[in-house]
Amino acid sequence: MTFLWFRTWQLGVKSLLLHPLRSLLTVLGIFIGTASVIWLLAIGEGISRKAQEQIESLGANNIIVRSIKPPSEVTEGMGRLLSYGILRNDYERLHETIPTVERILPIREMRRRFGFSSRMVDGRLVGCTPQYAEVTRLEVDRGRFISDGDLRDRHNYCVLAADLATRLFPFEDPIGRSVRVERDYYVVLGVMKPRAPSAGIGGSLAAQEFDNDVYIPITTLWNRIGDTVFTARSGSFEAEQIELSQITLRVDEVKNVLETADLVKETLERYHRIKDYGVTVPLELLEQARTTRLMFIIFMGLIAAISLLVGGIGIMNIMLATVTERTREIGIRRALGAKRGDIIRQFLVETIVLSTVGGITGVLGGLTVGPVLRLILAALEKTTPQVMAQLPEIIRTATPVIVPWSIPLAFGISVTIGIIFGLYPARRAAAMDPIEALRHE
């Protein structure tokens, strides 16, 4: 019996090799279908995982309130000095009224140039409190972070982000040296470890980076720089008065986050005539991202399913042609004693061989998604940099993550499709009248 099965398979392969190009093209259809299932799911997973990571890095327990510049229609007629954003009073109110808030950080940040000897580096000056490092999950590499004492005494101390430190101090050890910001000097207390950017907040889509930060006590910032920032724009001066750029609140437990967020929004609404702040709740984003991910998987799966379907139709098409072409052979085999079942098996074996070969090569092709996608992106970067620049950063930098269950799924579907689409031609072959088939030219 095993020998007979072996013969059936051998015969199937032999018949397929009779038309190598035709068989190859049919296999190609299944190959593309199978590989695309793995590819699309891997790309989708890569993108959504990256988005999720960025959101998670904001902290699921956190609520972030940020100052937003109101649109110009609203600010018109307010004069040269534009005053907006969250206030120190807001901070006090939030600090004192909401019991579920475990930590609350006031933050003031601005773009500045930092100098050391003759080197100048652009970066972000961040006035903050000692808890800042903990809440935003920054870690000290060398030296120390800002302390409560620094905050109380308004010391001219600063802590550098890793990337900025290496650019400003390529040769020297930065600790103990003084960094110049405009006319003031700040002594470097420590250097932080590098940290991946987190998701954009306060309505901005761009990821938030921590590479070019210089941290100083917020009291020092208020003291030295104040709230008003002057910018020269097309010949005229413009001044903005912002007390706080951001307040980060850490809620005691995850289950209280959404409720606390509502309280925060209500509190702020009462004291702000115009919407000059935004509230970001990473937990909400996280849940949104999960929904998006599911949609993504369904969508990608649908596209892949369509391409597999096309592959299946290809198989059916070829097998129907083969059956017609081999009508005579079917007649001979029937005359020599083949049952209908034998004929079905013979043709089904051929489609199974086609779809299995397509499935296996498709899985192998699917596993190459990482390197191949990198090559494609690199090629696009070289040929059409403008188009690439328009793509969202998350798509440009996402690395595909192969979803383990997509491999058996893709393979299973491809073989199943082969069988389903092979069954009809095989049955049609078996249903032929042997006398008619023998007469077929």
Partner: protein, 225 residues
């Protein structure tokens, strides 16, 4: 003596769009073992229909057909297939070998559909190939052989399952006269060795090679010689 085939008052009707065509109108025939019968008649006489019925490719409308001791009149499609696989050997006018198989594999096909294949089957097929004079062509494909050689392969194939009888449908129709004579000689020789042969032909010269001739006309047997 048992008969290889026994046909009793068989009729066969085909339904066409125009009405019913009566291809056979009551044919009775007995083929004893070791016989060599030529069924002759003009086209439309019903000889192909009779051949199909004897070859278990079709069932009669009425009457009875016995092959050996088996009544095949009302056999199912699968049962007919089994009988074809185990008890009937076909030789066709256009050889009908399977192009993707070698000579030896072609000879083995009927055994394959019997659902068994033992090592002595292989030896038997080699003997058959030798008998028809093709032992040096075992690995060749049908397209690499001449018409006469292909028909020899077909004859070897028809004997692979040790049939009740060999059914030869115009076995020399596609061959030149010299090769045709060789093939007919082979058939006579096989008959001498005890094989039962039923041959369908429309050429009187070829029909004369048989032990007896059955003339068909308009679906009935005219005379028996």
């Amino acid at each position: 003596m048992t008969s290889a085939a026994c046909v009793q008052d068989v009729t066969k009707e085909y339904r066409m769009d125009g009405g019913t065509v009566r291809a056979l109108r009551g044919v009775s025939l007995e083929v004893p073992e070791g016989d060599y019968v030529a069924i002759m008649g003009p086209s439309g006489s019903g000889k192909s229909t009779l051949l199909n019925l004897l070859g278990c490719l079709d069932r009669p409308t009425s009457g009875r057909i016995m092959l050996g001791d088996k009544d095949v009149t009302r056999a199912s499609d699968d049962q007919l297939s089994e009988i074809r696989a185990s008890r009937i050997g076909f030789v066709f006018q256009s050889y009908n070998l399977i192009p993707q198989l070698t000579v030896l594999e072609n000879i083995e096909v009927p055994l394959y559909y019997q659902g068994r294949f033992a090592s002595d089957d292989r030896r038997r097929c080699l003997e058959l190939a030798e008998m028809v004079g093709l032992s040096d062509r075992l690995k060749h494909r049908p397209t690499q052989l001449s018409g006469g050689q292909q028909q020899r392969v077909a004859i070897a194939r028809s004997l692979a399952n040790d049939p009740y009888f060999m059914l030869a449908d115009e076995p020399t129709g596609n061959l030149d006269s010299v090769t045709a004579a060789e093939i007919l000689e082979l058939l006579v020789e096989l008959n001498h060795n005890g094989k039962t042969i039923i041959m369908v032909t429309h050429e009187t010269d070829i029909g004369r090679q048989a032990k007896r001739i059955i003339q068909l006309k308009d679906g009935m047997i005219l005379e028996k010689e």
